[in-house]
């Protein structure tokens, strides 16, 4: 039972990332009808927002302190980040919490990137075949990746979680097991809660606002909404920007778990597509459910007990599930009738 719980938790944080990316993908697909192969890149860009923010904060000023001397007699150089010099304790706090604080930078940046992408490129591909959409966004993904590579280099850049959220917490203690049975990194808990909040926010936005209602109506029948005199294209642009922000936030918060490099997006993209297909193209709850489900399945499959029976299963479980689901339930877990059926 304890092992079960631990694996469940292990699966949830990865599942959270899958669910967030798949949610954005589905949002774009359900509204615009575009298969966005550059979505993993948005995840990666989010992660690099966190890195940029951290780099900006850690710009240092060098001051020579004439009072103190180094052991070899030269005046001591004091290095101090500008934010700390200017803002004192708050600056220190900001530097410490740079990963969560970079959300503030990531939201506008990702929204602008999403807006530009949709207006500049995706807009022209509404009426082209899905194969063309896949190809052009695939090309865009290569271009963005290469630009990031030139700017930040090819090596992963580790980011650290805030001090108070580092380390592991004994969660089992809270649930009444013996101490030391279920020990789980705090940041992963944070990620899980964060993913839940973002998902809830997106659903609430779609469910309880007039804007969301129009978007949902547009997902169901775009033409009729257009005939009612609503400028659906403009709203869809905003939806694209929201999807970009969601992917970006997923990336920002994932940086302490996995040091980001320029091709991390591609690795997640392939899995997210599998998630979307398993959940059912165009179904938002399906995408979220499938994200968590596949994350958990993957973590269970990497248990030694299971690997002893079926060697290598942890490597292929996600794809295997996708193949089985596609063959027996062609619409995915919660796919709607008539979406992408041919």
């Amino acid at each position: 039972m304890d092992v079960f719980l631990l694996q469940l938790l292990n699966g949830l944080d990865k599942g959270g990332a899958y669910a967030l990316i798949a949610l954005g993908l589905t949002l774009i697909f359900g509204t615009l009808g575009v298969v966005n192969f550059a979505h993993g890149t948005l995840f990666m860009l989010g992660a690099f927002c966190a890195i940029t923010f951290n780099k900006l904060l850690s710009l240092e000023q060098v001051r020579i302190d004439p009072e103190k001397l180094t052991p070899w007699g030269t005046p001591l150089e004091v290095r101090e980040p500008y934010v700390e010099a200017l803002l004192g304790d708050f600056g220190h706090w900001l530097l410490n919490y740079s990963v969560p604080a970079s959300i503030l930078l990531a939201i506008p940046v990702m929204a602008i990137i999403g807006f530009v992408m949709e207006r500049g490129l995706i807009k022209h591909f509404y009426n082209r075949p899905h194969a063309d959409q896949i190809l052009v966004t695939f090309g865009l993904a290569i271009v963005i990746q290469e630009i990031v590579k030139t700017m930040f280099g090819a090596n992963p850049i580790p980011q650290i979680a805030p001090e108070s959220l580092r380390g592991a917490a004994d969660i089992g203690l809270m649930l009444g097991t013996d101490p030391g049975v279920i020990v789980y990194p705090v940041w992963r808990m944070v990620y899980l809660v964060f993913a839940g909040l973002v998902i809830a926010a997106v659903f609430a936005f779609l469910q309880f606002t007039t804007f969301g209602m129009v978007v949902r109506a547009g997902m169901a029948d775009r033409e009729t909404v257009g005939l009612l005199g609503i400028n659906i294209e403009r709203r869809f642009t905003i939806v694209f920007a929201i999807a970009a922000v969601v992917a970006g936030l997923a990336g920002v918060m994932y940086t302490p778990i996995l040091p980001p490099d320029y091709h991390m997006g591609m690795d997640f993209l392939v899995l997210s597509f599998v998630v979307v297909v398993v959940g059912g193209m165009g179904s938002l709850p399906g995408a979220v459910a499938a994200g968590f489900l596949l994350g958990i399945l993957q973590s269970f499959a990497s248990m030694n007990e299971i690997k002893d029976i079926l060697p290598g299963i942890d490597q292929i479980i996600i794809y295997l599930v996708a193949v089985v689901i596609l063959l027996v339930r062609p619409r995915g877990l919660m796919g709607r009738k008539g979406v992408m059926e041919n």
């Binding site: 298969v35 490129l121 022209h124 082209r128 899905h130 194969a131 063309d132 896949i134 190809l135 052009v136 695939f138 090309g139 865009l140 993904a141 290569i142 271009v143 990746q145 290469e146 630009i147 590579k149 030139t150 591609m266 392939v270 597509f273 599998v274 297909v277 193209m281 060697p311 290598g312 490597q315 292929i316 794809y319 295997l320 996708a322 193949v323 596609l326 063959l327 062609p330 992408m340 041919n342």
Partner: protein, 380 residues
Amino acid sequence: MSARTSPARDLVYFVIFAAAVLTMPVWLAPIGAGYPDLLQKFAIYGLFATGFNLLFGLTGYLSFGHAAFLGVGSYTAVWSFKLLGMNPIPAVILAVVAAGIFALAIGFVSLRRSGIYFSILTLAFAQMSYNLAYSVLTPITNGETGLRVLRSDPRIFDAADGAEGALVSTLFGIEMNGYAGFYFCAVILIAGFFIAQRIFRSPFGIMLRAVKSNQNRMTYTGLNPRPYTLAAFVISGMYAGLAGSLLCITDPLAGAERMQWTASGEVVLMTILGGAGTLLGPLLGAGLIKYFENIFSAFNEQTLHSIFSFLPDFLETPVVGLMSLFVGEGWQLTLGVLFMIIVIFLPGGIMEGVSRLGRLFKGSDKPSAADKGRVEAAAE
């Protein structure tokens, strides 16, 4: 394009193509591509893309997992070297057979669905093969290190030979490196092109095009598209296996990264860049990408400075700075930009551009064979 074709015209095309391939070392030398390693890559990836095009270009099924067959071909070829001996012919034959069987199994399952679902299914199978080759199948694939031929291998037929020197496959005493290796691949490429040409013109090819244009109508006329698409899938898998085995001829080493999905993406890029659904397009695309990879990536700022030295100084530095983003390490940026431009403005690839140009200059609907040869030279 198929509007005005005749057997005689096809024969002329074929002869010109064969001549162009065999003389590649001569006419590619001026642009710095006249060395056997690169030429061999042109031939191998041309074959890979030609096979991919038989599936995607004709039936419209976009497979994102073709690298799996390339990998299977490579592994089979290396095993054939290890067990049977260094003769490339059994290696090539076995690789084609193995890739064909593998493609039959994957195709049988994947072709139950179409559109993006088909792409995801093939991608899933390829990723499964890749992950397994890396982990559990290590006894067969030698995992991360890659499978290579060792001196201690049984090699039933030529265990006594090659006791010293590097292990290179030999075809009846001719070592398959340098130009010998290239010509071996070139001959196979020409044969592969011939088969592809025959398929394009055959009733079978017309059936495949029917699948692309409208599957429903095809079913209404009482035809079942499945056997045709499956056959196309298997044939194109066999081409990929063939290409995979040829990769091992000069350098008998097979690694799992050949099966990764980025490798599948590369063949998609090649085919689209050149022009899906045309005979020459995929070959042009493959040549272009491999040329970029080898020549552009070797550029550095020094070479750029010497190229732009005719500019005044205040212009030279920014131009070189800008250009250096696109060459050397950044050659993939060039590739990505080029690819996007092609998909946006020229969905038919380079071949569509060629035929548009041809129409522009001659007012006819089709460029002549001589035109094609010249453009091919220019494009590669």
